[in-house]
C-alpha cells in the first residue's frame, strides 16, 4: 500500500480518564495529519474481548495495531497473532510481559515518575517541618500501572517513615464513586490527613469535593493546606497547579508518547526493528516550575483549548 493510505487500529481498554480520551483524540488528529485511517475498539477491561478485537483487526488487514491492553501477559497471544499476520503492533502506555513475540511498547516510567513526585512532596514537607499523615488513592488492583504507581509511592514514604505515616489506602478501582466514598471515610477516620497522593488526576474533582466538605481545601501556604500530589498531567491538574492547590504532578508526556508510537509504526513499515520497550521518562511538574514546563504538559494544551472554546 502507498504510504499515504495506511490504516491503523486503535485498541483501548477504556476511556475512563482524560488521559485516555485526550490520548485517542491526539492519535486521531495526528493520524489524520499523516493521511492514515483509524479504526477503534474499546474492550472495557476485558482481556478476552480485546483478543477478539485484535483478531478482527487482523481480518481487516490493517497496517498497524496500537493497543492498550489490560493485562501484560494476556496480550501475548494477540501479539503472536499479529506477528503471524505480519502486522506491526505497538503497546501504548503499558508494556507486555516478556515473551518471544515481537512488538514495541511505549511506556511512561510510572514507578520512577511517582517516586519523583512523592520525593518532591517529601522534600517540601521536610522544609515545612512537622509530622505528616498520608493517604493514597490507589487505582484498580488488576492494573499494572496502578500497581507501579502505588509501589513508587511506597518506595518513598517507607524511606521517610520518621515524618510520614500512611494512615489510609483508598481503593478506587478507577471508579469515581468509590474514590469519593473511600476518601470521605478516610478523612472521617483521620481528620488530620495532610499529605494526599492520587494515582490518577481524573479523581481530582472528587478529591476537591471531599476536601471542601471537610474544610481542608486550601492553597499552598495557607493554613491547613494538604500537600497534594497527582499523576498523569491532565487539564484539571494544570488548573489546580495554577490555582495553587496541587503541589506536584507526575506528568506522562502524552504528545511524546503518541509520536513515539507512530514513529515506531513508521520504522516497522520501513523494515527497521526498534527496541521492544521505549520509555517516556516523564517529568514532575510543580507550582514552582509550572511556567517553564507547562508547554510539555498535555493537560495545558487541552486546558488552553477549553479556555478558547
Amino acid at each position: 500500500k502507498a504510504e499515504g493510505s495506511k490504516t491503523v487500529a486503535l485498541l483501548f481498554d477504556s476511556l475512563v480518564s482524560p488521559f485516555w480520551v485526550s490520548g485517542i483524540e491526539i492519535m486521531r488528529e495526528k493520524a489524520k495529519a499523516k493521511g492514515w485511517t483509524t479504526l477503534e475498539n474499546i474492550s472495557n477491561f476485558d482481556d478476552n474481548k480485546q483478543f477478539e478485537q485484535v483478531k478482527a483487526m487482523i481480518s481487516r488487514k490493517v497496517d498497524g495495531i496500537l493497543i492498550i491492553q489490560t493485562d501484560a501477559k494476556a496480550v501475548i497471544p494477540a501479539i503472536r497473532a499479529a506477528n503471524a499476520a505480519n502486522i506491526p503492533m505497538v503497546h501504548f502506555n503499558r508494556p507486555p510481559a516478556k515473551s518471544d513475540a515481537y512488538s514495541v511498547a511505549i511506556q511512561a516510567d510510572n514507578r520512577k515518575i511517582m517516586q519523583d513526585t512523592v520525593g518532591f512532596m517529601v522534600a517540601k514537607a521536610k522544609k515545612q517541618g512537622g509530622k505528616y499523615k498520608a493517604c493514597i488513592l490507589i487505582g484498580d488492583l488488576g492494573d499494572v500501572n496502578a500497581i507501579q504507581r502505588r509501589d513508587g509511592f511506597f518506595d518513598v514514604v517507607n524511606a521517610n517513615k520518621d515524618i510520614i505515616d500512611v494512615v489510609a489506602r483508598v481503593s478506587t478501582e478507577w471508579n469515581a464513586d468509590k474514590a469519593f466514598a473511600g476518601l470521605t471515610n478516610a478523612i472521617q477516620a483521620n481528620p488530620d490527613i495532610n499529605f494526599l497522593v492520587t494515582s490518577s488526576d481524573f479523581l481530582h474533582p472528587q478529591i476537591e469535593q471531599v476536601l471542601k466538605s471537610a474544610n481542608k481545601w486550601h492553597k499552598t501556604g495557607e493554613a491547613g493546606h494538604v500537600l497534594f500530589g497527582g499523576f498523569d498531567g491532565d487539564e484539571g491538574a494544570y488548573a489546580r497547579l495554577q490555582d495553587g492547590y496541587l503541589d506536584a504532578c507526575g506528568v506522562q508526556n502524552l504528545f511524546l508518547e503518541v509520536d513515539m508510537a507512530f514513529g515506531a509504526f513508521e520504522d516497522l513499515w520501513a523494515g527497521k526493528k526498534p527496541e521492544k520497550l521505549l520509555l517516556d521518562p516523564g517529568f514532575v511538574i510543580t507550582q514552582e516550575d509550572l511556567m517553564a514546563k507547562r508547554d510539555q504538559m498535555w493537560g495545558y494544551t487541552v486546558w488552553k483549548k477549553m479556555q478558547k472554546g
Binding site: 475512563v16 480520551v21 469515581a176 464513586d177 466514598a181 470521605t184 471515610n185 477516620a189 474533582p205 472528587q206
Partner: protein
C-alpha cells in the same frame, strides 16, 4: 420433626427477636467496627454513611417498585449517565430550579420508553432494558464525546450543602423514601403493585389495569435513576464516560438484600434502604479500620452473606411460629 418449643410469653420474645434480627445484626456490626476504630461510632460518620448510600438507595427504591411487579430494569446506569450528560453539557447555565426538574423529566421519559416496549410490544423486561442500557449510553457518549462532563458550581455546592443541619443528599434520600413508602403502603396504586406482582393474570381478572401499573413502575424507576444520578454527580463533581456503568448490580443487590423478591409481590422500600445502608456501612467500616483493600470484597461479601442467611432462617422460623392453628391447646 421437632417443632419449636416456645410457649406463652417466651414465644412472643422469640418472635420479637426474630422479627428484628436484621436490626440486631446491624447493631452487632456497628459494635464490632466501633471497637476497632474510635471514629466509627460518631454521628458525623453515620451521616457520611447515609450520604454515600443515598444515590444507590434512591435508585434501589425505584428498582424495588420494578422488582415488586416481577420486572427488572438493567438500564438505570445508562439513564443516570444521560441525565448527567444533558445537565452538564446543555443545561449548565440554567438555574437548578429549572434544570433539575428538566432532567428528572428526562429520566421519566427514559423509563417511559422502557415501559412502552414492555407493555405495548410485550418485549421481555430483561431484554428491553438490556438494549436501552446500550442505546442510552451510546446516545449520551455521542453527546459527551467520551469526555469528562463537568457541572456548574451551584450543582457542586448543592452536593456539599446542608439544610437545617441535614446534608442535601440525605434530604433527597428521605423525601424519596417517604414518598415511596407511603405510595406502596397507603395508596390503592401501591397495593395494586403487590397484587400485580403476585399474579398478573388474576390482577387482570380482578379488574386492575395491569398495563398502567407496569408502565408507571418503569417510569418511577426512571425518575429514581435520574434523582439518584443527580445526587451522585453533585457529590463526585464530574461524570466520566463510565458514570453509572454497571450500577445495576449494586442497586439490585441492595434491593434484594433488603428482602425484595426478584419474582414479584414480596418486599418493600424500608428493606431496600436498610440494604443500601448496610453495604455502605461495611465499606465505611473497612476504610475506618484501614483494612487492606484486597480484603474489602471478601469481608463485604461475607457480611452480606451472613445478613441474608439470618434473614432467610428467620423467615422460615417465623413462618412456622406464626402458622395458624386449628386446635386451641391448653398449656
Amino acid at each position: 420433626m421437632s417443632a419449636v418449643s416456645a410457649g406463652g410469653g417466651n414465644r412472643s420474645t422469640t418472635l420479637f427477636v426474630l422479627r428484628n434480627a436484621p436490626v440486631l445484626l446491624f447493631i452487632v456490626l456497628l459494635a464490632c467496627f466501633g471497637l476497632m476504630s474510635d471514629r466509627f461510632l460518631t454521628v458525623t460518620n453515620f451521616v457520611n454513611i447515609v450520604i454515600q448510600a443515598a444515590h444507590i438507595g434512591i435508585i434501589a427504591i425505584g428498582m424495588t417498585f420494578v422488582l415488586l411487579i416481577g420486572g427488572i430494569d438493567l438500564s438505570i446506569g445508562a439513564n443516570m449517565y444521560i441525565v448527567a450528560a444533558v445537565l452538564g453539557l446543555f443545561l449548565k447555565d440554567l438555574p437548578l430550579a429549572i434544570s433539575f426538574p428538566l432532567v428528572t423529566l428526562i429520566g421519566l421519559a427514559f423509563g417511559a420508553v422502557n415501559a412502552w416496549f414492555i407493555t405495548r410490544l410485550r418485549v421481555a423486561a430483561f431484554i428491553t432494558t438490556l438494549s436501552t442500557l446500550f442505546i442510552g449510553r451510546g446516545i449520551a457518549l455521542y453527546f459527551s464525546g467520551n469526555k469528562m462532563v463537568g457541572f456548574s458550581p451551584e450543582v457542586l455546592a448543592l452536593g456539599r450543602a446542608s439544610y437545617f443541619g441535614v446534608p442535601s443528599a440525605i434530604w433527597g434520600f428521605a423525601i424519596v423514601f417517604i414518598a415511596a413508602y407511603v405510595t406502596l403502603s397507603q395508596t390503592t396504586f401501591g397495593r395494586q403493585i403487590y397484587a400485580v406482582g403476585a399474579d398478573p393474570d388474576a390482577a387482570g381478572k380482578a379488574g386492575i389495569d395491569v398495563r398502567r401499573i407496569v408502565f408507571s413502575v418503569y417510569c418511577i424507576a426512571g425518575v429514581c435513576a435520574a434523582i439518584g444520578g443527580l445526587i451522585s454527580l453533585s457529590q463526585v463533581a464530574v461524570a466520566s464516560s463510565t458514570f453509572g456503568f454497571q450500577k445495576e448490580f449494586p442497586v439490585i443487590a441492595a434491593t434484594v438484600l433488603g428482602g425484595t423478591s426478584l419474582f414479584g409481590g414480596r418486599g418493600g422500600v424500608l428493606g431496600t434502604v436498610f440494604g443500601a445502608v448496610l453495604i455502605q456501612t461495611v465499606e465505611n467500616g473497612l476504610v475506618m479500620t484501614n483494612a487492606d483493600p484486597y480484603l474489602y470484597p471478601l469481608v463485604i461479601s461475607i457480611i452480606i452473606f451472613i445478613a441474608v442467611f439470618i434473614d432467610s432462617s428467620r423467615n422460615s422460623i417465623l413462618e412456622r411460629l406464626e402458622r395458624r392453628q386449628i386446635r386451641v391447646e391448653r398449656v
